[in-house]
Symmetry: C2
Subunit: 367 residues, 2 copies
C-alpha cells in the first residue's frame, strides 16, 4: 500500500490522538477527513468486531445542519422517502437524489426538532447541494456544517459498555432512534445505529474539545469487554450488504438500482427533487440492480476499480467492493448486475486485476 | 506516514498505470481521486522540477461542465470576478463564493464557447453547488462532470518537450490562454497554466482511454530533457504563494482574506451570489489576510493541522502549509494573520506539533 501525505486539508478529528495511540495502520479519506480503515489487520479487526466491542472514530460522517422555518420542507425536497410521519428522536436512512433521480449521497437524517435536522452524510459534499437548493429557492433556513463528530460503539458487547458510561437506559434505545445523554455537563444525542451488523450506537459529539475525554471514558469502561479501537470493517460491511457511496453507487445510479426502492415513497414524497424521473423508474423498474456476489477465490486483490462481471464474452455488470470472508470461506462482493443476469444462482465470471474467477449471484447478502 | 487503503471510491485516473510504473511513493486524495504527492522525495522532486521538466497526473482537477443558453449567466453567478470581457480561448482564475462571500472553491474557469465552459476545480464537490443553484433558478443549462482529465507538463524545459509532440506553435500559447491541438485524431485543449511557478502547460484530455498513450508519448518526447513523472510540489508551491483550497482557505474565508481581492470586481459582477456580503468586505477590507511566513527552523513536522501564530501570549493567526525550502534555507509557510500583526517584518512565534519557532511576516512570497 502507498503512503498518504499528511496535510491540513485531510482533516484530523477530535479522536485522532486516540486513534494514533491505538496504532492505526491505514486510513481512507472521507469527507476531506481521516477515517481509519485498519488497526491490527482487516481480518483480526473483523474477528474482534464480531466477538467483543470497538470504538470507532467516524467523525468523517459529517453533519449538514438545516435549521429554520423551512427546514422540514427543504429536507423533503432532498429525498423520495416520505418524511411526513417522522418524529423528533428518529433517524431515517434517506437516499438523496438530483433532478434526474441520480444519487448524490445516502445519509442518515436525524430529526432533532421540527425546525432542526442533521443530515449525517456519506462521502460527498452534500452541504453544497443543500445550500445551492436553499439559496435558489430562497428558503428560510440556515445550512452549515456544525462541529459535530460521531463516535461509534459497535459489537455484541456495545450495550454493556455504553450502560457503564451512560446508565442502563441506553439499553432501551430502539433501532434508529436516539435519546439525549449527559457527558461532562453536555447533552449528547446517542442513536442505536452504525455501519455494521453487529449492533451498537453512534454518539453525536457536539464540540470537539472534549473528544479525547469521551474516547478515554469509553475505552476505560470497555476494559472488561476487551474493547479496542476499530473502524468500519471492509469484510463485515460487505457480508452485511451495507453499501458504500462512491464505491457501490454514484450519481449515475438511482435508488432503485441500489436496492433502496423500499426507502422511496416517490408517489407521496411531494416536493422531492427528481420525483418525475423516479416515478418513471418506480413504474418500469430498474434495468440493473445491486446484488450480492460470491466469488470462488481464496485470495483477492484490493478492489480499487470496477471489476467487470462477464457472462461469456458479454459484460453484464461490475463488482465495486470485494473481500475474502473468513466466516463464509469465499470472496464476498457487492455487484451491480443487469436484469438479464440478476436472478439468484446465476453463474458469472469476475475479472479482477489479478485473474478471473467464477462468481455467483445472490439476492440476499450474507448477514 | 500511514498507508492509504485502496478502494473504488478513491478513484484511479487515466494515468495511474504510468504513475505507478514511475514509482509513486505517496498520494493525497483530491476530489475523490488519487493525486500523487511524492516520487523520489519531496526535495529531490523539487530540485528536478526547477531544472528539467515533469509530467504530472493532475486528473484530480476535475471539470464541472456547464453548457446551454444560460451557461454564461450561471458562471457569473458563481464568482465576484467580472467575466464580461472574457473570450473563448481564455482561462480565468475565479474565486467561487457562497451567499455570505465564503469561498467554496478556487477553480480556473475555461471558456470553450459562449455556451460551453469548464470549471477546473480544487478539492470540493463544486458540482453540487452549481447543480443546486442551476436547479433552484430553473436555468437552461446542463451541468455535469465530463470525462476530462488534465495532465500537466511543468518545468523550464516544458516548451521544448511540448513542441516535440504538438509542434512549435505550442510555444506561442500565452499565459492562461489555450489552443486546440490534435493527438491521435482527437482535439485536446492545451493551456499555458499549472500549479507551479516553473512554467508549463495543462493538457485537457477528453476520453480517458487514450490516457496512457498520451502519457507515454510525452515521456518518450521528454527523454532529451531528463523528463520524469512528478506532481505538485509541497515546497515549490509555497515558495510561489500558490494557495491550496482546504489547506490555506476554507468556506470560512472571503477572497479578500485570501489575498484574492484583485480577482474580485464585485461592483460590476452583477448577478454574483454573495455580492452584498462582498461589497461590504471590499469597502471595509478584511481583518485578517494571507501572508508569507518565514520560519527560523532547520526541520519541520508535517503541517497536518493549523499551527497557531503567536505574538507573546496572544494568538494572532495560523499557519496552514509549511515546508523547509532548500533554496531559501528556512521554513516557508502560508499564514493567515490578523491586521494588527500582518505588516512586513513583524516577528511572531509559530507553535508546531514539535516545538515553537521564530517566524517573520512577509507581504510577498518567495518566487
Amino acid at each position: 500500500m502507498t503512503s498518504i501525505s499528511p496535510s491540513r486539508r485531510l482533516r484530523r478529528t477530535p479522536f485522532s490522538d486516540g486513534v494514533e495511540a491505538a496504532g492505526v495502520s491505514a486510513y481512507t479519506i472521507y469527507n476531506h477527513m481521516l477515517l481509519p480503515t485498519v488497526f491490527r489487520s482487516v481480518e483480526e479487526d473483523y474477528r474482534h468486531l464480531k466477538e467483543a466491542v470497538q470504538i470507532w472514530d467516524v467523525a468523517a460522517e459529517r453533519q449538514v445542519e438545516v435549521r429554520g422555518p423551512d427546514a422540514a420542507k427543504l429536507i423533503q425536497m432532498l429525498t423520495p422517502r416520505d418524511l411526513r410521519g417522522m418524529l423528533p428522536g428518529q433517524c431515517y436512512y434517506m437516499p438523496v437524489v438530483d433532478e434526474t433521480g441520480g444519487m448524490l449521497n445516502d445519509p442518515v437524517v436525524v430529526k432533532l426538532a421540527e425546525d432542526r435536522w442533521w443530515i449525517s452524510i456519506a462521502d460527498s459534499d452534500l452541504l453544497y447541494w443543500v445550500k445551492g437548493v436553499a439559496y435558489g429557492y430562497r428558503l428560510d433556513v440556515l445550512v452549515d456544517e456544525p462541529d459535530v463528530s460521531p463516535l461509534a460503539v459497535q459489537g455484541p458487547k456495545a450495550d454493556d459498555l455504553m450502560a457503564n458510561v451512560f446508565g442502563d437506559s441506553v439499553r432501551d434505545i430502539r433501532f434508529f432512534r436516539f435519546g439525549w445523554y449527559e457527558f461532562q455537563g453536555r447533552d449528547l444525542a446517542i442513536a442505536r445505529s452504525g455501519y455494521s451488523k453487529q449492533g451498537g450506537f453512534e454518539i453525536y459529539l457536539e464540540g470537539g474539545e472534549i473528544g479525547m475525554d469521551l474516547w478515554n471514558a469509553l475505552m476505560e469502561a470497555g476494559r472488561p469487554y476487551d474493547v479496542r479501537a476499530g473502524c468500519p470493517n471492509g469484510i463485515e460491511r460487505i457480508e452485511g450488504g451495507l453499501l458504500s457511496y462512491g464505491n457501490d453507487m454514484t450519481d449515475d445510479n438511482t435508488p432503485h438500482e441500489c436496492g433502496l426502492g423500499r426507502f422511496c415513497n416517490t408517489a407521496t414524497a411531494v416536493g422531492c427533487i427528481g420525483r418525475d424521473a423516479l416515478l418513471r423508474v418506480a413504474k418500469e423498474g430498474p434495468v440493473q440492480q445491486v446484488r450480492a456476489i460470491a466469488i470462488d477465490a481464496k485470495t483477492l486483490p484490493s478492489c480499487d476499480r470496477y471489476w467487470p462481471l462477464m457472462a461469456g464474452e458479454k459484460r453484464v455488470g461490475r463488482v465495486s467492493s470485494a473481500a475474502i470472508s473468513p466466516d463464509f470461506g469465499c470472496g464476498v462482493a457487492v455487484g451491480m448486475v443487469r436484469m438479464t443476469h440478476w436472478d439468484e444462482g446465476t453463474q458469472l465470471r469476475v475479472e479482477t486485476t489479478e485473474g478471473a474467477y467464477d462468481a455467483k449471484v445472490y439476492e440476499k447478502f450474507w448477514i
